[in-house]
Symmetry: C3
Subunit: 363 residues, 3 copies
């Protein structure tokens, strides 16, 4: 775990000029648990394992009314604000449900136009005002670096509170990376765990944040090989490949998606990210049909293989696959709720209490 | 009660080509209670009586803090989503309050534009994703058949959950029919019950869903006569009259609203449904003044009579009537909250528990 | 305290033609506690002291999980509606949090366009319908007198419920006045209390409601002097000065803001209210720099002095002041949440229960 550095002992200019790896130690608590959750890089193998284990325990505890009663008593004295400047119903509802599971009382601000920011206030002032009513802010904001700035600012007041980044525009979306890891971990828990597996990424690998974050996090797990299947224009960035090289990870870059399927333990599909097009129609000109997962491809997929997708999808996965047991993309969404519950419980240091309850009542 | 048929053993094409009466058995649980709530036709006399009795018990239990504590402990381990693609504050707030009474934790999605559907996802995918966070979806959607499609789809996944239709465009609005029945039942509980009464419908009977649903449901009650007062252009459809004939119900079709008032036990007023006009100004040309209920009409109404209206109203009922004890349209709204509470409790099979509490603590 | 007059024994025309001072007795309960909260004038010294004491007790009780458990059990059988026709995130979230603290279950209607008012219903009808689902309505509406009209209307039905004015356009914003008084009281509780202090108001004193309300309320406290620093075009209204004269209050009207700072115990800054401009650019032409509080001004301010601002701010207070311990404008926001909790608890007569808990467990 990281040794904590103090966010109230560094200026914003200094902090924001650090690399993400250098920023990570400023985001943890004295006890090593996350405080602000801003970066995928602030998690290591140990903390990922802890979160995944905790998510599974929460999920099992939640099966009974008594268990739900326990969970929803843990943080029923806390109030959280969901502050979404950017539309994302699925991420919003996932966090909202995670808060409800833990008993947190939630207020929301989804539409920036209904805010008193109209009266000429800076966004920083708005966040500081809103923070005065709550114990945590879960924020989605498209402005590069804004969520980090708010975390730094609040840590420099006499009433700091944790901020969770719910995924802005081109930036980090750390909890998406967590749910992907958790889905992989769950998918292989009965067949040897996540280690020694082959993960096949397919689609718009250049612009999809989720693939980039997940690819880095997978380097924590021994002997995972990665395959990147995409047309040249959308292939994974060289910075990621350099990172994999630096960590001694085996990978393949290919055009042959269909040929790679039989070797894959997990197929991670992504949609075209055409909202980042720099020229109109740029993406539409790229032929993608060979990078779609069809009903036929189910036959080529290992019996123990899984198909993942961060959703929303368009045509990348045929709906004929939707009810195949290896299509885990629906469960992946629900996993997002569980891992976010685990994360929030950990931020508020209630993880031990949940683990104790689990040992006494469930295991 | 209906004998259950399984929604996961019929294709969507087959199911959607059935009549509503034929669809009804697919919507109940093994124990006969409703699962999905999509159609007024899925209720019979026995289930209506059970729901009305339960609503009254919930209403009485809710009078004390202890009673509210009991009610809100019943389903506090459940999460519901209110998914409204079509604006309707009153229906929204009524369902929302019903959920709160039972302790259900509610998330809402009221504005479709703030959804990730923007990224090219199908609406079915959105619903399936959202369903992964919740235990029930209460849905209002203007697209013909969409709510039914979602219910069928979810019943064909490995994580089915109940869907309640909160009333789309031209389609069914089953819980409105329930609250009308409950209001009639409550209004006459001290003067012989709903049987043998005369119900006078007035206004835009051609296009108002609520009148059509209520008229059919009233055939369950012996010896209710129905009177339809409207200008020819807005008179009740022949299909409803055929239905009444087939069930041996006595009815009158008339232009003489004022003359019909003294005989009426319940006067059910409706507003002009001009949002369904096919030509501009079509409705505005119809002279409606003779079909308005005025302060003077209060004198002609029986002392035990009641005035109902599904609201919103325009000019159909003079505000001078608003505080007359026979004007039950405000209470009708509150009845909607109680009957929806009863319905949701029944879907989750907590009706017996409420009945037991009532017998022990209230009766 | 006021002797209660009954709102259901006076017509709307009579009531609305009364002065605000004459209206006040119609808004209290038999026991003297507020019922509807519509006017700053309905509070006197005794009720202000009670509310401030209660707010402080709630704040201290809320520090522990057990205390929060007590508070959130007080009104968990009640449902409130936040009905905001006018955007104001800070007031909305403050009330929302106050309700959550007391366990009240809250529904919200923030965007009037998603309402069934579209179908031609009057706003009065909408409010009466919505009222049927709730036990309290907290309303913000820009139409002059609308909130009062609703309070009167509901008190004339057989299901009255309290309405709290959350601050419309040019009208009253009574809970803002309460939070200002509470902030002053808290700020000086360790240095002799609010009495004998000098309050310096600065900025757009002509059009800011908060200054006008606070100036009047301060007349309840012996020997408070008031200073009004503003350019002529924005100086405090003569009606306020007449009111101060009538109550024997000492005041100063000045252009010299900077010169007044060293004498001030509290500096109350306000922003330009240019949304009330009658000609385009009217406000922009006024030179305001001399009425801004800068980092340098911190040196002139007494060590025990405080800087307040109702927020949002623009440039009136330099951000360099933000983390000075005398900058209480952030805490002022949080005080709003506490005093609103105290107010709502008092409306529902739970104040004694809170005071008892405090005496037994905290003091």
């Amino acid at each position: 775990m990281f040794k904590r550095k103090r966010l109230d002992e560094i200026s914003w200019d200094e902090y924001s000029s650090l690399t993400q790896e250098e920023q990570a130690p400023f985001l943890v608590q004295n006890n090593g648990r996350p405080y602000h959750v801003l970066l995928a890089q602030q998690f290591d193998r140990e903390s990922l394992d802890n979160l995944c284990d905790l998510a599974t325990r929460i999920r099992r505890i939640a099966k009974s009314k008594a268990g739900m009663g326990f969970l929803s008593s843990l943080l029923d004295h806390k109030r959280a604000m969901l502050y979404f400047h950017q539309p994302s119903s699925r991420t919003f509802l996932s966090f909202y449900s995670a808060c409800l599971i833990l008993g947190i009382r939630v207020a929301e601000l989804r539409d920036p136009s209904i805010s008193s920011e109209q009266k000429g206030e800076t966004m920083e002032d708005s966040v500081r005002v809103f923070s005065s009513y709550f114990d945590m802010i879960i924020m989605r904001n498209p402005v590069q670096g804004f969520v980090d700035k708010c975390a730094w600012m609040l840590s420099n007041t006499d009433r700091p509170l944790p901020i969770i980044n719910a995924g802005p525009g081109k930036d980090q979306h750390p909890t998406q990376a967590l749910l992907d890891i958790y889905t992989l971990q769950r998918s292989f828990e009965k067949c040897g765990g996540l280690e020694h597996k082959n993960v096949l990424f397919c689609g718009d690998l250049k612009r999809g944040r989720t693939v980039r974050s997940l690819s880095r996090l997978l380097t924590f797990y021994p002997d995972i090989t990665q395959t990147f299947a995409a047309p040249d224009e959308l292939q994974i960035g060289q910075d990621i490949l350099d990172y994999l090289d630096a960590h001694g990870i085996q990978y393949t870059v290919t055009h042959d998606f269909k040929g790679a399927i039989p070797e894959a333990d997990a197929v991670y599909m992504t949609r075209m990210q055409d909202e980042w097009d720099t020229k109109p129609g740029e993406s539409a000109r790229i032929r993608m049909e060979d990078y779609w997962f069809t009903g036929d491809d189910l036959k080529r997929l290992k019996p123990t293989g899984v198909i993942m997708h961060p959703l929303p999808r368009r045509h990348e996965i045929d709906t004929a696959c939707d009810n195949d047991p290896r299509a885990v993309y629906w469960r992946q969404m629900r996993n997002g709720m569980w891992i976010r519950s685990a994360l929030i419980a950990t931020v508020f240091c209630r993880d031990s209490e949940i683990n104790n309850y689990y040992m006494l009542n469930i295991k």
